[in-house]
Subunit: 663 residues, 2 copies
Amino acid sequence: MLSRTSHDRMANAIRFLAMDAVEAANSGHPGLPMGAADIATVLFTKVLKYDPTRPFWPDRDRFVLSAGHGSMLLYSVLHLAGYEKVTIEEIKRFRKLGSLTPGHPENFVTEGIETTTGPLGQGIATAVGMAMAERALAARFGKDVVDHHTFVLCSDGDLMEGISQEAADLAGHLKLSKLIVMWDDNGISIDGATSISGSTDQLARFAASGWATTRIDGHDPDAILAALTAAKASDRPTLIACRTVIGFGSPKKAGSEKVHGSPLGADEIAATRAALGWEAAPFEIPADVLAGWRAAGAAGSAARAAWEARLAAAPEADRAEFERRIAGTLPQALEGAIVAVKQKAVADGGAVATRKSSELVLDFITPVVPEMLGGSADLTGSNNTKAKGAKAITPDDFAGSFVHWGVREHGMAAAMNGITLHKGLIPFSGGFLVFSDYCRPSIRLAALMGERVIHVLTHDSIGLGEDGPTHQPVEHLAALRAIPNLLVMRPADTVETAECWQIALQSEGRPSALILSRQNLPILRTDATAENRSAGGAYEIVAASAKAQASLFATGSEVSLAVEAAKLLEAQGVPTRVVSIPSFELFLERPAAERAKVIGDAPAKVAVEAAIRMGWDAIVGSDAAFVGMTSFGASAPGKDLFAHFGLTPDKVAAKALDQLRQV
Amino acid sequence: MLSRTSHDRMANAIRFLAMDAVEAANSGHPGLPMGAADIATVLFTKVLKYDPTRPFWPDRDRFVLSAGHGSMLLYSVLHLAGYEKVTIEEIKRFRKLGSLTPGHPENFVTEGIETTTGPLGQGIATAVGMAMAERALAARFGKDVVDHHTFVLCSDGDLMEGISQEAADLAGHLKLSKLIVMWDDNGISIDGATSISGSTDQLARFAASGWATTRIDGHDPDAILAALTAAKASDRPTLIACRTVIGFGSPKKAGSEKVHGSPLGADEIAATRAALGWEAAPFEIPADVLAGWRAAGAAGSAARAAWEARLAAAPEADRAEFERRIAGTLPQALEGAIVAVKQKAVADGGAVATRKSSELVLDFITPVVPEMLGGSADLTGSNNTKAKGAKAITPDDFAGSFVHWGVREHGMAAAMNGITLHKGLIPFSGGFLVFSDYCRPSIRLAALMGERVIHVLTHDSIGLGEDGPTHQPVEHLAALRAIPNLLVMRPADTVETAECWQIALQSEGRPSALILSRQNLPILRTDATAENRSAGGAYEIVAASAKAQASLFATGSEVSLAVEAAKLLEAQGVPTRVVSIPSFELFLERPAAERAKVIGDAPAKVAVEAAIRMGWDAIVGSDAAFVGMTSFGASAPGKDLFAHFGLTPDKVAAKALDQLRQV
């Protein structure tokens, strides 16, 4: 046990680094680091398994600061424990352009940060995914190779967000006993006491979802250690309510919302120095304190070395497979499986919904890409994300490759982020496209972090029919395409679906959204080779009979509609080509000259998509005509809706003829 | 008490209408109507205060079918109880184009439907807003005028969605004792038994948030009536877990997910007819059953007449004010208040953040528009949505005009929908623009329903600075503009902010999003008249010194940037005009000729917005240049970020000169 004096001084080092950095930045959140410093000190000196010299050691414990605004807590600890890149100079550059210490923790910027947090509730739900990944990999590779805990520090705000309930439901149901959430229970939110906006008994709520719960004094190191020790021994996930004082140590501001998100000011910092007996200058850490911290940080190397020895002793095939998975390298057999599914699709012919095409792809590729972990938000039979033979994971058996997420899109998407951040698995989900709105904050974070999660989003337009406008996406393609670094792909048939799956899997640095139809679509592509024609984002799928007078552009289910329109135009003597555009992003990343060639110079240009026009001008120009949606949909059979909203080959052909008349 | 036989036959009428309509449509969800028919029968014949001849009677009880997929339950009841527009012919047209019986209940289509549901969790959270509105209006007008209950029927899926927790938190905290949620606890979701994806003890969860809870047999009419009666007497909101059998009555499919979302098939319907002893032909209701239902429906007219008498007896000023509010008519004094705030802004001058401008507007208008009910998702001081003198509502005092929503954006937005649907109040929120993602499903529903809710979304770009990319909107303007019928407004200074508030309030048939800056902006408009120049969506805010060679287009904080760029260009001899575009939607609704005039014919066109380009081509054409964002932001002071990402007057001027060189 740390002596109380030693503990206090080590915790105070966090407090003053946080106070001083926020003061220097003239912006930031000192309240949480000051209040939770005792918790972090006990965790990082007595409990957490980590090695500052190997930030990416696979079997490290994970720590997620769900309350990302308290980033200075994390930066302070990383610096003190010895993460060498987090220098005192970087701490001085808190919140400055290009620093390793941005306003909220960004895992893609700073080693030692496990995930990007700040949007409340995301951290706790992401940690659920990390803990799931640990269970799943332990089931595959054994406890000698995979055996670690996931710790979360969350705030009142994290627990107010609805996603916290989805996360709690999942973790309790799946018995994620190695997930331990420390709630910085300081009773203060930005608007004041939390009692002005809520009265929930959080311990009772989590207990209702199958969690172990306990309440401690968050400033008592013995109590913190005892609670964490008990939590590690629990057979359930644990919520530890740590009663703390926000801004602990500040004589005038502690316990008040005033210390949450603003610098304390020079006078109050001086007063806090006096109150806590801290004599070191700003950004200076007394040698004994730093030595204590560095010793604690260095202690983890033994555990890491022992793990390396265990891994080295594992069967060679297991070790190689584990290392392949952690590295994120795909099996070579994937490419053959993609060609095989294309060949089968072309041979079978017929009309098939792309959600069914996707299922076929999964049947072929999941046997050769065992790191794929599928799932659905209670729409398994509709999303077609459960491959043949896939077994669902259960609370007591994580050997499966499918997750029944329940009607929890947001918790699912955040947990998927955690699964991919953990390394070793490639998560893919199932949901309706319209309900991507429910998990948009997590999809955005995946894009920001550059993580390979794959969202399978089916029922992608009014084509879904009778369920009506609440279920019919109209603006969602545009809204998803708007997210930087998100790859949105809408394949037109089975061959394109296979190609888009291949692209998604090979895009290690970005998330993908696969947008799939409910309704059947004819097979358009009859080539089934290793060439991935979708990879360029757009390509001519039907050539004109002579020099093209009209170019038709479409995605997904509207490509076959455009092909029908082209036939009408050709029958009227208008040479017409059709361009399929499975992905705007991939197309727009190509050089302008290549793009111009694909777009062509036909005098008539018409784009077709059962969605709003927004985003299309970047592809076809604002002079092109567009056939699509300008309003919400309606409830009726899908075919009736296509006719009602003017999405027909006739209308597309008429638009092209209009354009030719105007030339 | 209904005799059991009579009750059973009345409930079976619901079951067979649902079964037969789904069969005829060859699509739909029979399971819930069959399982919950007993609940609905007791509620609509014994408990609910309603009058089918006056669907909009203000003091009616509200009934929300949160599990909107069970729409045939509602259509059946409305038909049986005597809502005259819901004819048997309409029931036969279930899920057909243009029917009054779409796949999910749509309040803007069918009288008797209180809100549009289908996206799970929305109904229960919307109902929280209805119950809040009831409390607030009762506090203002007294129980003689406002005294009714809000009933919800929700499904397992509703309770899996995180928004249900935000709703439960709020309702329990605010002691919404007149909110009664009946949970159709059938243990089945689409993927199978709910136990495959969750283990939460829902009663314990709701109890943890301050609800009264009870569990009953949902097929026992006496138990249902007793539970509802007890709930009405409770001093807390009540959750009644009604244990039911999904698809009750179907010999082969009851109790299974097979009956959730597909027609039963002719054979199984025949078997169910036999099992339940139902001899009437499809869509035929035995005369005694219909008479029983119609009598129950007609019984409500006495309560309605009594209420009308009470309203007539109320003080004349109260009655007139109540009727004005229910009608949604704005006070005439609003216009004067808008002019007054403009005049003050122009007189004061100086630089002010538009979030502060908005606060000033609220200080002027809330005293004359007492139906405004503000709030913030725990960002009151940052969103500036609490007007001078505004008092927060508390669990025991609803006389206030402000809601501390807590960190519950989704629950807030859905409750706001309920508040406006209730009639009598105009809700406006406060949140950060980036977190509009958290409540997007509810914003979308407001747009679909055409409801006047006003979302104040501040911290609208990288200009917010140090909090970094998790907090900096980049794609959110585009993503919100993508939603049909949502009015997105981004004012440039205090005068425009006042005008945008006026537009939002006057837009009774659509929601608005007011997009406001964190950082200070100079005042640009010096006219302060009754004319609302923002109402056309775009207008020339700075004229060129001669025939314009360059037109600069911008919104919000970038208008002043464009004005600076125009000065640079003018200094180089390039006559340059600046067009401010507070709203794309309003601009695009104008005739093409008017729009062309505003856009002008200057050879150089440059648009500027601290966001992605998506959406701009519809305004300025794809030949215009654009200065904006192509990636996520970063953590640094806002000014540094504008420079880093090239959002400077220099860069804008350079783009214009580039364009002129290309001419």
